[in-house]
Symmetry: C2
Subunit: 141 residues, 2 copies
DNA sequence: ATATCTGTAACAAGTATAGTTACAGAGCCG
DNA sequence: CGGCTCTGTAACTATACTTGTTACAGATAT
């Protein structure tokens, strides 16, 4: 269980919230659908709340609902809201600065990393929560 | 040290090989530039060899050299050669099949995952090893 | 034969995700 | 006001993955 599935869970969570409109949804209810512990859901909701994608209320009859309508929440925003890593990581330890390749490769890879991340963001930005709901309900995207 | 930096190391390795032409390069030599253990390099070279990107020779005066010229090795091929994961992972445990969202979200996310991976592949495919060498030598891409 | 290099197994160490328990604090209602 | 029901969060565990390291068999040139 080391592969980061936070984005997948976040989309799942937000899709459920979207289908509940203005009704508050409890973390236990979402956890049952995602098939995990409610605390795992609340941790993700914390990140989504910080990104202003959802609004949570404590107390009896509390819960969480979307902060905006589904068509205004892009998958890119969700991706950025949850702490996912980059597509690929740079060197763990700095390469040798005595080698011309080692000295410069990090900068090259760093630029490439940014470009790839931008490309992923743009692709994800083509879709929003409403599109996901439509796909789930059987309507082609 | 859990972030996967195999792609970064693979590009580093192949760049060094590219700059050595037809000369065999020893894993110890590459390891010194990457600043890691030679076995780590040999493990990666094994994957690159399986992908037919490099040719290795055992024995005295053995080592590794590129199997093709640098302009014919795209970064996409390198990415696919090393065992990197997907951009995002699907659910660790299957969602509840009793929930309409849980029942269908996996298929939606799986399609999305394929699309993103394809997008990353296409972006990486725009560059080859020769471009990396030119960047390292100070020539703009 | 000997020296040198790759290939690979085996194990240790470090780190990230996810699961779980526990509890403080917020808010509704009788 | 007191009790009930939620969220928010800390703390700990289990598991899995990457990387580092040692060790050694096998290949190859001299």
């Amino acid at each position: 269980m080391a592969a980061n599935s936070q984005f997948a869970m976040a989309v799942h969570i937000l899709t459920m919230l979207a289908r509940s409109g203005d009704t508050n949804v409890k973390s236990e209810c979402i956890a049952a659908s995602v098939n995990t512990n409610a605390v795992v859901i609340r941790r993700l909701l914390g990140q989504l709340s910080a990104a202003k994608l959802v609004i949570s209320q404590t107390g009896a009859f509390g819960g969480t609902r979307l902060a905006r309508c589904p068509s205004e929440i892009s998958l890119c925003e969700i991706y950025k809201a949850v702490s996912c890593g980059e597509v690929f990581a740079l060197h763990a330890k700095s390469p040798s600065q005595d080698c011309p390749v080692g000295k410069n490769i990090e900068a090259v890879l760093c630029n490439l990393q940014k470009e790839i991340d931008k490309s992923v963001g743009e692709k994800l930005g083509q879709y929003n929560l409403q599109n996901v709901i439509e796909q789930i309900e059987g309507v082609p995207i």
